[in-house]
């Protein structure tokens, strides 16, 4: 008997369009295997279906003694540039505004168990990701997802990513109105829309039902919509051009008062402007925030308004408005009071942090705390059953990597918690310091520099005690494994950003400590780096900072205000005792990352016999640059923005000069000389190039040089320059690590002695 296939099994049960698309994708997989499809084209094709790369998919893995090839049976076949066909990858599953049904969760549990590693991972953008998936398993995975109404289309790639919204939408006490139907309508409208297919980069959209709370986090999205009501009519404040990433930008107001019927056409007009005028060649500058910076918000608004006038009327813009209640949820059980008296203390502790009363009397949203955003297939099935039993099937992934069950009757809360707890899902602390979030980092991400998950796992163990103190409980701790900032560390009270440092000729995983981000008011402002600590000292850094805050805060001063008041200089002094890695001989554990017994990246760096004793001059230069950046931050905090900008630029010159001298000997300190020499020796030779973003960080330096009079007093522009200077310094460290303490002859051979 011929083997069954999912295609035949599900024939006639999938939405026609999805069915066709998946068949097409399967055909493209076959074409690529036959060498009939270009690898770049195939890469973008699979990304648009959410089929992503994963660490080691270039076929190399550092086993602690250096990079070693992974022998996959596919030979030379690739699924993209430098991406081996057989190497496992990640499947991102778009969950629009985080809403999923029990049936969908059951399906994802099955898929995780059969085709991944039995773990579902909730991301900071309300997606679910499965790891270690083989490319050839993805078409059937997509079919099975489509059979329960999920598409992975445009989950990655240069397109509109998952549209997010507050997990409390529709049941929140503070919202102006339920943004769910609008997020749903926008999802449907933009999915596959021809106007969103020509972007140079991804485009992220978020909704929020109010301006004050952080659930929607609209300010760091490419486009954000905040609902409000005026004179009984619904409007959105629409913001554009926000983003985290290497240099975070707060979105600016495009439309103060966009009527609900204008929301989709306005978004379409923005998309068309972005597709037409956005950068296409340089990925590093292709997000809409750069377009906004280039034109300014007023000109961008004018362009969008012009574009809006040209749009042909589309009934989908407003059709959904006549049935906004289509996304309403019905409770399964009658609401009832929450009985805490006499309930177990563990339940009461959970209820305090994980139960939030809904706007509807007698109902609660129960947040299920997921460590590192992970839950198993078995746990997923328990969650799905509990959603069916208690809630009428209403689950939402949250941006803090948890899952929320809505419409829980207060009378059922204890029984629900007991069932959750039995499945290992009853931990308290949701949204507190004991619930830190993290991007995948070095665990699975190709770009990870430090183990954000490893650190966050360690923090979870250590921070529980801080959740007992009402002063430290509300603090948010977030970690990103690299400057791409997927862990959203910029908006945490205490953020960590993975970097790498050279100590005595060996690489040591570090984290930049980012303080002062604002989580509330839709993540209104971003933190700044105050210094770097070795990865192994990062938990102590949190302890030092929280202790000082507990002891030194005035009245009910927020953490952000405390940071601002005592100043970054004082904070750096506080962190000093935990800022230095001991020598390898003293404590080799610092030379490994959390949860990873391999020596950190030594395979990438030849260690000379004397490397442990000699400090090359370049390291002094990089340290001086770091010091200058601290001074720039202090000036910024003191409101001396122009001076801060000049100092930040000076720090870039210092770092660049250190590298030039490392390679080429002499160069004068004049910025124009350093820039010229840096361009010649490090950029033209591509020695400075980041493996992924190429010359992006060098461009920061060149742009700063062009603007070096620094007449701006705009704090936001200076903040961005400080961020760019920081990234330039990190890139300089990385470049130095690639070159080694003694530049390889190949590098030296590429250049002539400096004429300066």
């Amino acid at each position: 008997m011929p083997a069954k296939t999912w295609k035949s099994e599900l024939a006639g049960r999938l939405p026609e369009e999805l069915d066709r698309e998946i068949d097409l994708f399967e055909g493209q997989i076959a074409l690529r295997k036959q060498g009939k499809m270009d690898e770049r084209l195939f890469a973008e094709t699979r990304l648009r279906r959410g089929v992503y790369g994963q660490r080691y998919d270039n076929g190399l893995r550092d086993d602690g003694t250096g990079p070693k090839p992974l022998a996959f049976p596919c030979g030379e076949l690739t699924k993209g540039p430098d991406t081996v066909w057989d190497a496992p990858g990640m499947q991102r599953i778009k969950i629009p505004y985080g809403k999923m049904s029990a049936e969908q969760l059951d399906m994802m549990a099955d898929l995780a168990e059969e085709l991944s590693d039995a773990i579902l991972h909730v991301t900071t953008r309300q997606d679910i990701q499965l790891h270690f998936v083989h490319i050839e398993d993805t078409p059937d995975m997509h079919r099975r997802l489509a059979s329960v109404g999920i598409t992975t289309r445009e989950a990655c790639g240069n397109s509109v990513r998952n549209i997010t919204a507050c997990q409390f939408a529709g049941v929140c006490n503070d919202e102006s109105f339920d943004v769910t139907p609008y997020a749903e309508a926008m999802t449907r409208f933009l999915l596959g829309h021809p106007d969103v297919q020509e972007f140079g980069r991804k485009f992220k959209i978020a909704f929020s039902g109010c301006d004050d709370h952080p659930c929607g986090l609209v300010t760091f999205h490419d486009l954000g919509a905040v609902g409000f009501v005026e004179d009984g009519k619904r409007y959105f404040k629409v913001v554009v051009g926000g983003g985290l990433g290497a240099v975070p930008v707060v979105a600016k107001v495009l439309a103060e008062k966009c009527p609900e019927e204008e929301l989709l056409p306005l978004t379409q007009a923005v998309s068309r402007v972005f597709a037409r005028l956005g950068e296409k060649q340089s990925r590093a500058r292709a997000r809409i925030k750069f377009l906004m910076q280039k034109f300014g918000i007023d000109e961008l608004r004018r362009l969008v308004e012009e574009e809006r006038k040209l749009l042909r009327e589309d009934p989908r813009w407003t059709d959904y408005l006549s049935h906004l209640s289509a996304t309403d949820e019905e409770p399964l059980r009658p609401g009832g009071p929450l009985a805490l008296d006499g309930a177990p203390a563990t339940f009461r502790a959970w209820a305090e942090t994980n139960l939030r009363p809904q706007a509807q009397d007698g109902y609660y949203v129960a947040t299920v705390t997921l460590p590192l955003g992970d839950f198993s297939s078995d746990q997923a099935r328990v969650l799905a059953d509990l959603a069916r039993r208690y809630t009428g099937d209403t689950l939402r992934c949250t941006v803090e990597q948890n899952v929320a069950l809505r419409w829980v009757s207060g009378a059922d809360a204890l029984a629900l918690w007991e069932a959750l707890d039995a499945a290992g899902l009853g931990a308290p602390g949701a949204g507190t310091i004991a619930d830190p979030t993290s991007c995948p980092g070095t665990d699975t991400c190709k770009l990870g520099i430090s183990s954000s998950r490893g650190l966050t796992g360690e923090l979870r163990k250590r921070l529980t005690v801080l959740a007992d103190d009402p002063v430290t409980r509300p603090l948010h701790v977030k970690t990103s494994g690299c400057f791409n900032s997927c862990g959203q560390h910029h908006v945490a009270d205490i953020g960590f950003l993975g970097v790498s440092r050279n100590v005595g000729g060996r690489k040591v995983p570090h984290f930049n400590v980012v303080l002062g981000g604002q989580w509330t008011e839709n993540a209104k402002s971003y933190g700044l780096v105050v210094g770097a600590v070795p990865s192994k000292s990062a938990p102590e850094a949190v302890e030092v900072l929280t202790r000082a805050y507990q002891e030194g805060r005035e009245g009910d001063e927020s953490f952000q205000a405390w940071v601002q008041r005592i100043g970054k200089g004082t904070i750096r002094k506080l962190l000093e005792p935990v800022s230095k890695a001991p020598s390898y001989e003293e404590d080799p554990s610092y030379y490994r990352d959390w949860g990873d017994p391999r020596e950190y990246g030594t395979g990438d760096l030849g260690v000379g016999e004397c490397a442990g004793e000699i400090v090359p001059w370049v390291e002094f230069g990089l340290t001086t640059s770091e010091q200058e950046q601290y001074e720039a931050q202090d000036l910024y905090d003191a409101g001396q923005h122009q001076a801060a900008a000049a100092k930040a630029f000076a720090s870039m010159v210092t770092a660049a000069a250190a590298l030039v001298r490392h390679l080429a000997g002499q160069v004068r300190d004049e910025p124009s000389d350093v820039v010229a020499a840096f361009r010649r020796h490090l950029v033209d030779t591509e020695l400075f190039f980041d493996p992924f973003v190429k010359g992006k960080f060098a461009d920061y330096f060149f742009r700063a040089f062009e603007r070096r009079k620094f007449e701006t007093d705009d704090p936001e522009a200076v903040h961005a320059l400080l961020d760019e200077a920081r990234l330039f310094l990190e890139a300089s460290h990385a470049c130095y690590q690639r070159l080694g303490a003694t530049p390889p002859p190949s590098a030296a051979g590429l250049i002539q002695p400096a004429a300066e």
């Binding site: 992974l70 996959f72 460590p371 992970d374 198993s376 290992g424 796992g457």
Partner: protein
């Protein structure tokens, strides 16, 4: 019966006495990758899911198969997961999975510092292929004689079988005990 086409399956041996913590397995699995201890497959990465209660524990991800120091059911054990890359039918894949699980267990037991032992008198077999082996009575009826035959040969004696997870959404599963 399509069950013979089922490709993905798991075999688990349970750790006896006081099993070591999952994190103790992490350096061991990393070394297995470095030393290429599995000569006909490519081992790729190690992931520690110890933070997930009764979850997959510590995973040693391979191309054709994974090894887990698994914690599901609240019981630690060595779980071998055949994912792909094996010709033949389900009988052959079951035989291979039993052999590799027993070999993997012996190899871990040989890691002196770990101080781990796995019982050979109880085995869990799960078929992770809902297309060819849905968790229903017909699939179990087809699976039962195959597992019995393979288990008796692998464990060297008569066995009793017990279906587990019937009527649940979990995969088709059978518990094997030496008679």
């Amino acid at each position: 019966m399509t069950i013979t086409h089922a490709e993905r399956l798991q075999v688990k041996l349970y750790a006896s006495a006081t099993p070591p913590a999952g994190e103790d397995l992490v350096p061991v699995f990393h070394r297995w990758i470095r030393e290429h201890v599995v000569d006909d497959d490519t081992l790729i990465d190690v992931v520690d899911y110890g933070h997930v209660k009764d979850g997959p524990g510590v995973a040693l991800i391979g191309h054709g198969a994974d090894y887990f120091y698994d914690e599901s059911e609240g019981r630690k054990g060595l779980l071998f997961f055949r994912k792909r890359a094996l010709e033949g039918d389900l009988r052959g894949r079951l035989q291979d999975a039993f052999t590799r699980t027993l070999e993997g267990a012996a190899r871990l037991e040989g890691e002196g510092a770990l101080d781990v032992a796995f019982g050979r008198d109880e085995v869990l077999v799960r078929i992770l292929d809902r297309l060819h082996a849905p968790n229903d009575d017909a699939s179990y009826a087809a699976l039962e004689p195959l597992v019995r035959e393979v288990a008796e040969a692998a464990l060297g004696g008569a066995v009793t079988l017990e279906r587990v997870g019937a009527g649940t959404k979990g995969p088709l599963s059978v518990r094997v005990r030496r008679a």
